[in-house]
Amino acid sequence: MWKKRVFALLILILGVGISFFVFKSEPRVNPNYENESSFLKKFPFHLGLDLSGGSHLVYEADVSEVPEGQIGESMDSLRDVIERRVNLFGVSEPIVHVQSAGFVDGGGEKLIVDLPGVTDVEKAAEMIGETPLLEFKVENIENEISTQKATVDENGQLVLDIDPYTQFASTELTGRYLKKATLQFDQMTRRPLVGLEFDDIGKELFAEITTQNVGKFVAIFLDGAPISVPTVNEPILDGQAQISGEFTPEEAKQLVGRLNSGALPVPIKLVGRQTIGATLGENAITAGVKSAIVGLILVGVFMILWYRLPGVVAVLALGVYMAIILALYKLIPVTLTASGIAGFIISLGIAVDGNVLIFERLKEELKGGKTIIESLKDGFSRSWLSIRDSNISTIITSIILFWFGTSLVQGFALTLGMGVLVSMLSAVVISRLFLYGMSILGEGKIARFLFSSEIKK
């Protein structure tokens, strides 16, 4: 019996420890968060878009041209392309994922893009829809560049003392006519180069440009900024060009990737857009926390008033349950949404279910004239079956919901399912240890009163 009491105490201490971890690693509640160790900073709650604010975009991919077996592959490469583009925005923790068409929904292949903190959905959509913009520009006739403005610095690099934005005029040649980009190295200097190969139209345009601009500068612009401004030595007719900007091999490789990824593997169409303002999310969090606290108090008061001492035990076990589940949300991590919080709150109600079943049984056994210890033993073993079976149906529903789910639904299914699983543990293992721990009170009249829960007597 002493062993069990020590265990009960250990669990209580563990519970306090876990709560401490949850508190310490949460920037919203820990006033001293800035000074915490980097380990703790790794585990804040992950908030979904509806709580943090942000944009949610749903694209449908047109895979009708893609051969049957390669759909998955082309969707993956589509995801990579979009992911690369999204990463260029500098959004923290963007999520890009493919939602495959199934027999169930009968719909098309989808690509979902979540951009936390981005509240201008149209701008985001525009940026994603854009291919990296590669432009070739020629000298503006009105603003002719005199060669005096170009100097050579000590590294042998050409330095242009010009404003590239006003002194170059656009041409028709853009990345649209690019067939492919390759990573090359200069034979002499071993500097990385980006080799460009144009398609037929691009070849003609490039030939035209280089023929007309021999001895002049041609600027290569990427996303509106010049990356390389070479002089044309002779007309280039074979549709091959090189960009010899100041690249590190890594940058050159990235640029090649971007240019090649420029063209999407499959055409996409924007079919759903959602923006949630930050204040709305903030309000939802406050409301969620408030309703969790009120719910917890209501359940706690009910349990203690009705079940007395076991009720206190149930509340303690519920506390440990909460600490465990919140820590799990942080560690796994689970992305919390408003519906996820609802799932968590409902799980608070369900978590005491196991306790209710056990305590009712305990009461019954006590009435049958058994000692407290005997009643505890039988109460636990006999209520286990109904606890297990009654929870399995909720677990089944959670699994189906998770599988059914859009992210909104999945958030709920996950927190509810996890809640039911962990609460079974908390009811059966933690409450049991605590109750055995309480048997220190002995078998006297007062102990029996505390363990029963009749209104009479």
Partner: protein, 301 residues
């Protein structure tokens, strides 16, 4: 146990409630949200004051984007419901809402869903409901496989499903009233609520069935009691705990309804209604049906 003795009355009450709900559903219908049919919702908050609804409404109808529904929200906001809009239409809509810059506003929420997405979601939802019902019958038949006398185990499953259809239909019926009078729409959370009620309602029924299972086993050697008195006795022993397990959940749901986030308010309300009828049906419908079935079965033999 009076519930078993007057089983026909209670079964009758349940049937009446179900019929009323079906009538309510067919008269008022369910307002389907944009999740399922496609469309756009734009929510804006004005900085100082909001333009008058009437004048704004005329402006909006002139946009040529079909009928647009304008609902005031909070002190300074409007919710605008329209068909799904593309980028230009969205910008145009926002400009119009600001009366061409006359009123300063921020967009707090915007959601546009194409009709194809909605159709897919509806299919998925239907599939999920059918699948979970099947899974639960199978599970109950399995859990009660050792209790096949005098009522075979799959019948427990069928009755649990009957009880849960009862819960779902009544909840949907009540929701159609709410939908009619408060303008609430059935969105994907509505389906989630439905499926969650499925899980919770069955778990409640199982608490009572479990006791019947245990008592039947005890009674097996002695054969002292009739089936209906075993059920009645089991019900007497377990109705309180069935009630309390639901009560604790209803307590947190009510807290979620009154204090929780706006987006899950009606979700919580629907779950509360579902839980209530789920508990009711576990006690007043499932067990009486079980006894009724056994009696009918005896007559045929």
């Amino acid at each position: 146990m009076f519930v078993i003795n007057h089983k026909k009355i209670f079964i009758g009450i349940s049937i009446a409630l179900v019929i009323l709900s079906i009538i309510s559903l067919s008269v008022f219908g369910l307002k389907i949200g944009i999740d399922f049919k496609g469309g756009a919702i734009t929510e804006v908050v004005y900085e100082n004051e909001r333009p008058e609804q009437v004048s704004l409404n005329t402006e909006l109808q002139n946009l040529g984007m079909g009928s647009i529904l304008l609902q005031p929200t909070g002190e300074l906001g409007y919710i605008v419901k329209s068909r799904d809009v593309n980028e230009e239409e969205h910008t145009l809509l926002l400009e119009t809402l600001g009366m061409k810059g006359e009123y300063k506003l921020t967009e707090s929420n915007f959601n546009s869903i194409g009709p194809s997405v909605g159709k897919e979601l509806s299919r998925k939802a239907l599939f999920a409901i059918i699948l979970s019902s099947f899974a639960i019958v199978l599970f109950i038949a399995f859990a009660f496989r050792k209790v096949s006398k005098p009522v075979s185990s799959w019948k427990y499953g069928i009755i649990a499903i009957g009880a849960l259809l009862h819960d779902i239909i009544i909840t949907a019926g009540v929701f159609s009233l709410i939908s009619r009078f408060f303008g609430v729409e059935a969105d994907s959370l509505f389906v989630v609520a439905g499926l969650t009620i499925v899980g919770l309602s069955v778990s409640d029924t199982i608490v009572i069935f479990d006791r019947i299972r245990e008592n039947l086993r005890k009674n097996e050697d002695k054969h002292k009691l009739s089936f209906s008195s075993v059920v009645g006795e089991s019900l007497k022993q377990s109705y309180l705990r069935s009630l309390f397990t639901s009560l604790t959940t209803i307590l947190v749901l009510l807290s979620l309804f009154f204090f929780g986030p706006e987006s899950t308010k009606y979700f919580a309300l629907m779950l509360t209604i579902g839980m209530f009828f789920g508990t009711y049906s576990s006690i007043f419908l499932a067990s009486p049906l079980l006894v009724l079935w056994e009696e009918k079965q005896k007559k045929y033999n």
